[in-house]
């Protein structure tokens, strides 16, 4: 399989993604803070300029009303013919004028610089009015009656109109200022809008780039995972094929050696035994030593023949090929019985069951392994091997009355191998057991392919 480098925690793509996401978050946070700050600024600006405007308007209004009241009293003073009135009018006029002057002085200190020229003009206009009025304030009734109207009409009214006009001008200037402030805040808002738009566009682009990158990375990971999964499936299939092939080769080898031992070596020894008997018969009387020698050779040949036969049967019982599955299983059952003392019975409806070679071999080896396991681990007294051939399947079960086990907790190589063997014939291998209730192994194979093989041979 491929090399497994331990991946660093922050490798290329991950680093880029992390930086990107952090950048995106920072950008969004910055945009939010900036928007808040800007809005606050705009609000403050508007608030300030509105207050200023209202304050100035109030002051101007005060100046204007005081000045206007003063001019009204001056007019009354000049035109009123009541004897007691002029003194009152004069006093009221002077008080109102003082109020206007005080307001004027206050406005001048707080007024904006751009209004200075017009304010100076206003100041002069007011001064000029009052200088014109001042001499008249000392007039007697006759003077007032004679000169009053002319002074008012020719000198004072134009001057009054002038400063009232100037006051209006100042007010307009204030209004212009307010409009400028409003324009400025609108500009600020526009500015904010532009900046926010660009931040959002950048964030969107970054987001799209990140999403794309993430998607690509994810797809690549997914592809890699799928490739790895497919490779592992393929490896598994290969492994299974290999193990099947190995079993096949092993079986073939065993069969060959068993047959060789049995047919060649065994037959030669049998021939030797017959000839030994003939040789012994041909020995003329009076040679007991020679007969004894021949007899010991005969015993040696017999025991050799016996071991060779056992070896051959252990490798692969000839019954499997000569007589079929059931006789081979019966032999195996008797052998196990003889060796272990377990009672092993083979139950088969059809003694002459005809099966293809791979079926015979597979079932035989599975049962052999099962009996082996039962003898080693189960402590069973009886084992029952059942073979049943049904139209669409072949059932083999091995049931013992031993101590059982918990199948989920037991996964030996033996059981795994049995699984594999059954799987090679597309069969199923099942273990049922629980402690104290013995073990039942079930092998279910699909019905063997049609053509019945002629069994036997030797």
């Amino acid at each position: 399989m491929g090399t497994h480098n331990p991946r660093p925690l922050l490798s290329g793509v991950r680093l880029v993604l992390l930086t990107g996401f952090l950048g995106l978050l920072a950008l969004l946070a910055f945009a939010g803070l900036y928007a808040l700050h800007s809005l606050k600024q705009v609000a403050e600006l508007e608030d300030r300029s509105t207050r200023q405007f209202i304050g100035r308007s109030d002051q101007l209004e005060s100046i204007r009303s005081h000045a206007y009241a003063a001019t009204s009293r001056i007019r009354d003073y000049l035109l009123d013919r009541e004897s007691s009135a002029p003194a009152l009018h004069r006093r009221q006029a002077m008080e109102a004028w003082d109020g206007a002057m005080a307001g004027m002085a206050k406005y001048q200190t707080s007024g904006p610089l751009n209004q200075l020229p017009v304010l100076r003009q206003l100041q002069r206009s007011l001064q000029s009015y009052w200088q014109t009025v001042t001499p008249a304030l000392e007039w007697n009734d006759a003077q007032r009656t004679r000169l009053g109207y002319d002074l008012l009409a020719e000198q004072l009214s134009p001057r009054r109109d002038e400063f009232l006009q100037l006051l209006d001008e100042v007010r307009r200037s204030n209004e212009v200022d307010l409009r400028a402030a409003t324009d400025q805040s609108a500009e600020l808002i526009q500015d904010l809008k532009n900046r926010l738009t660009s931040v959002v566009v950048v964030a969107l682009m970054l987001g799209v780039a990140l999403a794309g990158l993430t998607l690509i990375h994810f797809l690549r990971l997914e592809n890699a995972a799928r490739a790895r999964y497919e490779a592992s499936l393929e490896d598994r299939a290969q492994l299974e094929a290999l193990s099947a092939r190995l079993l096949e080769i092993q079986e073939e080898e065993r069969r060959r050696i068993a047959r060789e031992l049995h047919d060649e070596t065994g037959q030669s020894l049998s021939g030797m035994l017959v000839d030994l008997a003939n040789a012994a018969a041909a020995v003329p009387p009076g040679h007991p030593a020679l007969l004894e020698r021949l007899d010991s050779v005969k015993h040696l040949a017999e025991s050799t023949l016996s071991s060779i036969r056992n070896l051959s049967l252990l490798l692969r019982p000839s019954m499997l090929d000569d007589l079929g599955l059931i006789p081979a299983l019966r032999w195996q059952a008797r052998e196990t019985s003889r060796r272990t003392g377990m009672q092993v019975e083979v139950v088969a409806e059809d003694y002459d069951l005809v099966l293809p070679d791979d079926y015979r071999t597979t079932i035989y080896r599975l049962v052999q392994e099962a009996l082996h396991n039962a003898a080693r681990h189960s402590g069973a007294r009886t084992v029952s091997v059942m073979v049943r051939s049904e139209p669409d399947r072949l059932l083999v079960s091995v049931r013992d009355d031993g101590k059982g086990f918990v199948p989920k907790l037991t996964r030996g190589m033996g059981l795994l191998g049995m699984h594999e063997r059954a799987a090679h014939l597309n069969g199923r291998f099942q273990i049922e057991s629980e402690p104290g209730h013995g073990v039942t192994l079930t092998i279910e194979l699909p019905a063997p392919p049609g053509q019945p093989q002629i069994e036997g041979g030797t």
Binding site: Q267, L269, N278, E302, R338, Q343, T382
Partner: protein
């Protein structure tokens, strides 16, 4: 007495010639032909009509069991003696089913062949002592493990008598003559014996008898 005519079939020349030597030392035995495979043996039996055919179980072309089946089906008078490397009952039962009368292990052939030929010549069965012993041991062990009642005990005296005669290879007519019964009665007994012992064929009955040591 007329000499017993024997044919020998084995694909191993050494064994064949050895056995021939063995048999020809015996008065009253003549080896009339030799075959090196099953097909030849069948032809030879057909042609020479021997009393006994000694067949190796493992032969090319046609194995000993198949050859036995063909020889016996063509000429039931030929008594077949099987020579085998296998002591397993699977082979024994196959040989008996095919019609063989005697089953010998090759490693004791030189000791048992003469006895086997004379037994089958008299219409009896014969098994190598090693085979009988194995069958008997298996039977005893099974009985012990199962703790079962010996089904042989279920047979009446008359049935046991007939059982032994059947196991020895006697036909119904012979048994009827021997026991002074009608062949029909003998047949009824036979059926009941098979039922009681849970056996399905005469070869199984013969094996059963061998296991119990009633015939050898």
């Amino acid at each position: 007495m007329k000499a017993t005519r024997v044919i020998l079939a084995d694909d191993h020349t050494v064994i064949r010639s050895g056995l021939r030597l063995l048999l020809e030392r015996q008065p009253g035995l003549i080896v009339v032909g030799e075959a090196e495979n099953g097909r030849q043996a069948v032809d030879l039996a057909e042609e020479l009509r021997p009393d006994v055919a000694v067949l190796d179980i493992a032969m090319p072309h046609l194995n000993g069991i198949e050859a036995t089946r063909q020889i016996v089906s063509r000429n039931a008078a030929v008594a077949v003696v099987i020579l085998s490397m296998h002591s397993d009952e699977g082979y024994v039962i196959r040989a008996l089913q095919a019609g063989a009368k005697a089953y010998l292990l090759k490693d004791s052939a030189e000791a048992d062949l003469i006895a086997a030929i004379s037994a089958v010549r008299d219409g009896k069965s014969f098994f190598s002592p090693a085979v009988s012993r194995l069958l008997l041991e298996d039977y005893v062990r099974q009985m012990k493990q199962k703790g079962a009642v010996d089904s042989y005990e279920l047979l009446t005296n008359r049935e046991r008598e007939i059982f032994q005669l059947v196991a020895e290879g006697k036909a119904n007519k012979e048994i009827a003559a021997l026991l002074n019964l009608s062949p029909y009665t003998v047949d009824t007994h036979r059926t009941r014996i098979l039922q009681k012992l849970n056996l399905h064929s005469i070869p199984e009955l013969v094996l059963y008898a061998v296991r119990k040591g009633i015939v050898s």
